[in-house]
Symmetry: D2
């Protein structure tokens, strides 16, 4: 079944909020999200900023200990203007170098978005970028997740085992993400669309814009995961969210070892021998309170 | 001019050791390296382990403040057996998970290398990997660098501004690396060949093997860099080596910002706007005392 | 006014929960807390574990942007048995060393508490500790705080600007802590008493026990702080909570610089010159998801 | 035997340099050191800066695997002027806060030292510190150590298992430090005296000054340690040097666990139970390339 949902309010925490819609296992939801700053497709401020989320959606039958699969059927900007911050954040630069950056000038950029062609053009290029061409869209959701355990309501500024503000470029159209269900109904939240983003989200934003979002949800009953995963056509992947980045690497690597064991029958010894020579890491974000690392293995190497 | 050099001794520090050969700017050196454990092409132990280096090579005319360009013309294993450690290291795993790994069993693997086809096959696959096919070579140098400043002799276990044990998959055949010259003659060291390696070197090794190595050196006089760089056909790249990984990100991002400024005329403001939406990060190693991160930008985005 | 409050339910998040009692600025609350595992003075399990909190207490007149002062008038165990974990956690040890610790044996210790003399004695000393004498109480609250901003409900496993599970030995009887008010009424939570604890809480517990707690609250109207502070008789202090410990140092040092500026008229330049030669750091915890560092300056050095 | 040694040259690496003096086990050396910037008691620049070291001293009979005990019999400034940097370093502050500090103004301070009374007075106090009184000396050596293994020559900017630039306030007169011998003769280097320093060395210096230094050396044959230790009258202590601070905590805690096992017969289980409730941590430095943490236990708790 396909649900069409128009949000009327938003959340800047991911938690056990009142569901806005209940859907069945296998259903599809067509909805939209406002941008990270709280503005909608008409550039109207409809909520305070901070990655406000659409939802939560209650998925019938999802229980703590299950896994929720979320397929991003469609992720696309729904207005022709995006914005980004204009300077690399001080904490991604050498500390002494950062003290010489012009932060007091408050730089930010606007981007003209061609929704047909799927490209972004910086409106007022800073000196040296006058000839920068159109950048192709790589639409992604910066922040989404399910309600965490124990009554927590976790700020959409950060991330954890429940998902959240991971700002990972790989969460794009066509991808199916697995999330660990911690409460009845899972309570899926989605928001923070980026027309495009570099690895790390080093300026603190992608090209931020309101989005049309279509997702399909499925419940994997009795399957328990600890961190978000992707069991994809090209890669199997596991996500870790933490600071420092070293700890995110630990979470992601461990979860991928578990995934190979649980889903593909590889002991930790066998998983080690394989990953040692074949693992790849992606850097999600190095800007948010928790950083994000993705450990992945090309499916071709799976025995 | 092409030099053929057969090493008779090796170094496990990178420092101002007596040069084994002096070459001119633009010369090519054909030589070989022993494996990380100190064994040569005949599997004979010719030096204690720890990434023993061939060299150093004195490059005439290189002065402190210059940059040495090193092109890896040829990197290829020269024997048919490699080895790797068999378990992910405890410091790349969640600490509590690591305490349940069978480290006391001392696992390691041997690999049969087909030098013609360029493939590696695990000799005694652990359970579950029996059907693992041939893994294609991706030959790389794990450890190389130039003598550091101030009379330091830095262990080949670790890395720094001078290069060293970066264990980054991108240091492969065809690539030209830039290194910051700190002493007269630069004093290039090379070693630690890997037939292949996953990101991060999470088991503590790639497929370790002795190598045939051909490099060409060029001096960029008056060009000063701080960290290793690659000004390549597809990407411009900068390396950062440090722990935690967060600091390696800071070094690499800062050096890439400097590179865009110095070599491509982009102010930090312009570089930020571009990198924010287009930067990519590679994880070199997360095993060694200093971790390695590479920040890179696809050349297509350079104005 | 003195309020006597007996809790009937507890919280394992710190958030905007329904207040259990409203008190006036300057009032005193006599209450009690259950231990970190959820057991009361009779060793009865009255709540699931995880540092369950008594409260929250609404302090009349406290507004976002104010500061709440909390004086720990009395902190004392109220039963004669405490418990602790029996092994240093793997993440406070060298990773390879940790893999050789006997975690699979599930060690923990019980302690006999002499409430009159204020001493703890380990009930079944592990070999080598048979002659360990009585350890003096240093009663402290491991976890307390005020409701955070933005509707967050933060797990009592961790800490942040609002306080939380800081596990710092300095939060002991007689101390007055300042907390940043983020919601109307501040909503003070208290719990997780430790009869005693080493720096860092490296085994993951202090000597955990239910407590009698008496606190007095005061509102500093219009005074805005960012992190918990202590403006004490011997020291002025500021707390930072984060991982890695380096970031906790940054938060604590910055907040102490701000405190010297705002409360004592020292510019950042003057504060730097003074702190450079006189600052002290305490390590709160290195066990919880966020680590805790306290930066402090002896009052004798304040001009 | 007491040796009087006047240095004529200095080293800015700690390594296997030519010894300047050979002494016997148990001998005492009276010598002096120049300040971190390379100036002697007459304020003459006698060596480039960077914590230049006096030595190395060869201690007869010390072999790899032994431990060298160094007692700081006397540490005292030998001129009446010291200097310090005037601003907290950007990497010890919140990154965004650091960008607002006046680093471009190049602040530093001079201190008038009263060698009789043992006090320091800031010469031109920044606004707000006009009434800052005399600060008592707490003389310490910021940088000292023995030659590391494997032919390394490690910059005196940083530290490691061999000691080095630890900048820990606890390395003061009267203290006996244990260092792990890695080469024949141990090769002791000493330098970088501070009349006084705050925890962390957050401005990047203590009050830097040339020193008179008297040390007595003893060889503990067959006793092998991994990190510097102090087996003192009030505390047993172990040092860890690394970044991030979390890793320094791991090294120090692990070494203290080993010390309790090896020297005091406490198993890791018993050591854990004791340290869990009684360990203390000191922060050495959070400025240098490697940070320093000291784990310690009051001797009164040793069974």
């Amino acid at each position: 079944m396909i649900h069409r949902f128009d949000p009327t309010h938003f959340h800047t925490t991911i938690g056990s909020h009142e569901p806005v819609l209940a859907v069945a296992d296998g259903d599809t939801i067509e909805t939209w999200t406002i941008d990270a700053g709280g503005r909608d497709r008409n550039l109207e401020q409809v909520h305070p900023g901070g990655n406000p989320q659409t939802g939560p959606f209650h998925v019938e039958g999802a229980k703590p200990g299950d896994t929720l699969e979320v397929t991003f059927d469609r992720l696309w900007p729904n207005r022709d203007e995006g914005f980004s911050h204009g300077l690399a954040a001080p904490h991604v630069l050498d500390p002494d170098f950062a003290t010489r950056m012009p932060y007091d000038e408050g730089h930010h950029d606007l981007w003209d978005l061609d929704l047909e062609r799927g490209t972004a053009r910086i409106r007022k290029p800073p000196g040296g970028l006058e000839k920068l061409g159109d950048l192709p869209f790589e639409p992604m959701l910066g922040c989404f997740g399910v309600a965490p355990a124990g009554g927590q309501a976790i700020s959409t500024a950060t991330s954890g085992e429940h998902g959240g503000n991971m700002d990972y470029r790989g969460f794009r159209e066509g991808v199916t993400v697995q999330l660990p269900v911690a409460v009845d109904g899972a309570l899926l939240h989605v928001g923070d669309g980026h027309a495009r983003q570099g690895d790390g989200e080093i300026v603190g934003t992608g090209i931020e814009v309101s989005f049309d979002v279509t997702v399909t949800v499925r419940v994997l009953r009795g399957k328990t995961i600890r961190w978000p995963r992707i069991d994809g056509a090209e890669y199997v992947m596991a996500v870790g969210n933490a600071r420092p980045l070293d700890q995110a690497v630990q979470h992601a690597t461990t979860e991928l070892m578990r995934m190979l064991d649980e889903d593909y029958g590889l002991s930790y010894r066998a998983g080690s021998a394989l990953l040692g020579q074949c693992i790849e890491y992606d850097v999600g974000n190095v800007f948010d309170p928790a950083y994000t690392v993705v450990a992945k293995l090309a499916r071709e190497f799976l025995p």
